[in-house]
Symmetry: C2
Subunit: 386 residues, 2 copies
Amino acid sequence: MTSWLPLSPAERSVAIEVLVHGPLSRTGLARRLRLSQGSLTRLTKPLIESGLLVEAAGPGGTGGNRQGRPSQPLDIVAGSRSFLGFKITADRVYGVVTTLRSEVTGRLDRPLSTREPDVVAGLLAEMAGALTAGRPAPAGIGIGVGGRVRERALVGESAFLGWRDVPLGALVRERTGLPVVVENDVAALVEAETWFGAGRGLDRFAVLTIGAGLGYGLVLGGRRVPYAEEDRGFGRHWIIDPHGPLTPEGARGSAVSLLTIPSIRYQVRAATGRDAGYEEILAGAAAGEPMAFRVVDEAARGLGVLVAQIANFAMPQKILLAGEGVGLMDVAGNTVRETIRAHRHPLAAPVDLETKVSDFHDWARGAAVLAIQVLVLGLTEARDPG
Amino acid sequence: MTSWLPLSPAERSVAIEVLVHGPLSRTGLARRLRLSQGSLTRLTKPLIESGLLVEAAGPGGTGGNRQGRPSQPLDIVAGSRSFLGFKITADRVYGVVTTLRSEVTGRLDRPLSTREPDVVAGLLAEMAGALTAGRPAPAGIGIGVGGRVRERALVGESAFLGWRDVPLGALVRERTGLPVVVENDVAALVEAETWFGAGRGLDRFAVLTIGAGLGYGLVLGGRRVPYAEEDRGFGRHWIIDPHGPLTPEGARGSAVSLLTIPSIRYQVRAATGRDAGYEEILAGAAAGEPMAFRVVDEAARGLGVLVAQIANFAMPQKILLAGEGVGLMDVAGNTVRETIRAHRHPLAAPVDLETKVSDFHDWARGAAVLAIQVLVLGLTEARDPG
DNA sequence: ACACAATTGTTCCGTCGTGAAAGTAACCCG
DNA sequence: CGGGTTACTTTCACGACGGAACAATTGTGT
């Protein structure tokens, strides 16, 4: 049990199904995967023997069968392995320990004094040690970085760290002896939400993150679309309103200028001369302070337009708003929803919109999910044909 | 050979590969489909025996091997079967005969005097007879209709025909004795371009049609995304510019108001008092007539914004502009391209944009492709999970 | 001219994954 | 305790596939 079997494609699909969709009986799995019951007996046997799956204690709960032999749910031994996830920001590193099911069992964060790759890798190794002190060794490490990442190991370009072609994966692997997966931070969050969050089981799913910048990810056919713009952040040139605000960060009236936390603070500061925090501005808008209201209202309309465009052109079944800047929805959610409606066909299905305020540890958890996907199940990034 | 074998999934993939990607040797097919050479011998044998494939005359042309046994390309017998495709508009029906490769070998169109379902089905049957007079009977019929189509047979709702739950497929099958596939017209055009046109071999591909209305279709993972808005046409509520023109057809500044042929003619008529044709307006804009130029220029900017939004949010590898209203690109293509660039990240890959002026017979050809897909290869519509 | 290399396509065989069907297990109910 | 019902297992036969050896057909070098 020290290392898992190489799984056949069919075994892998069974493992993923149980991992993502909770305890399931063999019969239920057969239905979901369109396999015969006999195949399921065959496929689950080695998975149970290797310790990846167990027969859950209590037989099938509610909604089960009224008579006949009770079903025997199978479950992943979530605690059998642990994973580390890290998110690197400009001035701080956030880390979490998670189970196989991506439940966070520990968290930590440390300031980043320098951005020297060696020092950062050392800090990551040190945090890995601190996070797993007194516990069994984790199965792998996932690292999320803003910027372009190649081959899940190399940071090709990261503006805020000033990095170019830094082999971060190798550096951390040397210092920890653990397998390491490096990925763009938005991509990692999207994967995490697809497997364990709002996008669970969906075929088409979009994520928009609002924070210091914007992030966008699209999942189609259950797989994330590899995009080419992630290197310098999204939305600086998504012009929502040509007459909109001009900020240092994006083009005039761009999504970045309208929506990101720094841009909203900048606008209020420019108008009132006072430097207010983001939460403070939202509270002010809710209380009817004119300038704060105006900026937040404009942001809400911009967000509505943006969400409607995503819904119209990418046609996802669900859109998740995540990040630290979605508190906007609490204050001006109705404005956002009205604007979405105005930019959609009246007969179109309403957009399934979910809001999830996330902090930097949630981003780290996303990176841990990448490690789960790659290391346990042997998934590799979808190739881009053509 | 009167009816084709039921194809196994592997045989089907071979047939599609040859159909879509032209003559291919067995070795080439093995590489593309990631199968062994032995499997290819096995799979192609029944296809050749049944007459679906033939060994092409001349051995592999240029770019082949320098030495060794020359490869033996396999090709579809395109002329072995023919297909009918129809496009129904408000006042006219257009029909084509095509080969298996979707090459048009005959065309016809007739005025539509009434919209009574029985009469329309009768006209279709009569046109089918005229199109195939003196030729072998076609293998199937595809029909494209603007509006919502269910189960590839029922016209659920079509505003311009005034239909609701009309079993058009059954009506035409009764009168012709041929299998019939009914589909939304835009969906059919998208499928045709995916298999035989601009989207050939691409994983992600978008189509935007401009004509009397707008159409939009998205192909992801090689399959068309089933959308829910097609019933009343796209773009009436895609607000491109809130201060844009107001026309009878769409919301103010909507894509429909900016781009469709009736809206452009309406704008010029409202401004000049003279009713000019679409081509005339384009020529006037090119010649510098102020009002025509202004309307066309605004349309070009609107189109640029629209294409940029599609590129930003759906991230296709290629976007096709089709329909009768893309003559705009000849006159104001540079404006469109500049606007796209302004709404995209400067480092993002340039949008691969293709323009194809299409007439109503091209729409009919699209419907014939649906018939090819469904009837010959047994493809069914992608189910929408979740 | 001849052997040889290179490449395509075919034949043969062992393996593996699968569904069908029959059989076993576990539960409820009367 | 036996019948009904549902979950799971075992067995078996089939079919799809890859790998390896082999045949076919050309170019190349001496």
